[in-house]
């Protein structure tokens, strides 16, 4: 599913990395607030839904080769997180949806777990 469509579905806005997301296609989605849970994910190029906003979400995404991070409950990350995201080229979005609702909407679209 195109990231553009996902963004419409969960009403997400871009915080960092507009240049990366235009043609991005997402097949797998994961959700976690524990970075070690994320580090146990099996698939690269996934979309990560999380409520965490620390720079570690960017590091984790970088190590895991994740495609994009979506923050839930309308969170805006702290400045050092934004800086690191720019530096390593990981796009970050934000949605007003709750984690559960965002997951549910994406699951309905038959996006697979990562």
């Amino acid at each position: 599913m195109k990231l553009k469509e996902i963004m419409e579905l969960i009403d997400a806005e871009i915080i960092v990395g507009e240049e990366y997301i235009k043609e991005m296609d997402i097949k797998h989605v994961g959700a976690a607030d524990l970075m070690s849970e994320v580090l146990a994910f099996a698939k690269e190029d996934s979309l990560l839904l999380t409520g965490l906003t620390t720079p570690q979400i960017i590091r984790t995404a970088q190590m895991m080769d994740l495609a994009v991070i979506v923050l839930v409950r309308g969170k805006i990350p702290q400045q050092d997180t934004i800086n690191l995201a720019k530096e390593v080229g990981i796009p970050v979005l934000t949605t007003k949806e709750l984690l559960y609702t965002a997951c549910g909407k994406l699951y309905n679209e038959k996006l697979e777990s990562c």
């Binding site: 070690s36 849970e37 999380t50 620390t54 720079p55 570690q56 979400i57 080769d65």
Partner: protein
Amino acid sequence: MDVKNMDILQKYKDFFKDLTAKNVMNSMLIVLKEENTFKEAQEIMKNKKISGIPIVDDNYQVINIITMEDIINALSNNQIDMKISVKQRKKVVALKMEDDFEKIVEFLSTYGFGRYPVVSENNTLIGIITKQDLLFSVVSKLSVLYLHDERRKEILDSPLSVFVKNNINKNEPQFCYSINNSNVNNAGEGSALLKNFLKEKGIETKLIRKISISTYEAEVNVVIHGGGIGKIVAEITDESIVVFVEDIGPGIESIEKAMTAGFSTAPEYIRALGFGAGMGIPNIKRFADKLIITSEKGNGVKMEMIFWREKL
């Protein structure tokens, strides 16, 4: 490991009693069938650097074993292109998966073969034990045994190094990063640099991912538990990539507990940052092909992770 060493192991059979054949064996099995040729066996031995291959029938029952000696004989008898079935079947000495340490040592000292198949209750092949597999299990067990003991230090520097073919010169590594950081928000820089380094060296993407994840978990551990001072050292060889992560922090109280998923000593504020779920070391264990942790209370943690490279 000659027979004399086996006697020593025999003395400690109680301590090693949980090392059953199932726990010791290598389950990455390479097998052949009687329809295969000696030539094929020779190729596999050469590529996989092994000296013997079990021969199984359609039901995965071991019916023979082919060794380097058979290859040499086949070569001198001009049989190298023939099927393995020309070799007369013989009764293969096999271990049952529940056989205990004492039994394994007894087998190794009685028969003197290079490898012993391990079979399940219905006699199907499930693994193989070589002296190297036994040695590795013993050493892994010892690193827990020597947890609070000075002698443990030697494990990382001497006998293991031979075992893992670790030729690393720790004074002049190919990659070295000094961790000096007590803020978990900044943890991960070393792993990110290592990732770039491996990319530049043209290492396979899948392997880089496994290494990055493991190193990152280890680096975060140094920051959360290890006092934030330490280093990451990595070396690329033809066969493997070895990553050392060490710190000079307070050490791990119990390696066995630390290896358990869900066990953590991390404080609450670390958990709020998304770490401290007790998944770090279990995650590393999942991604690294070999993991050796040595630690002593008050004297830091040394972690050695080995990732085998795929044959090109």
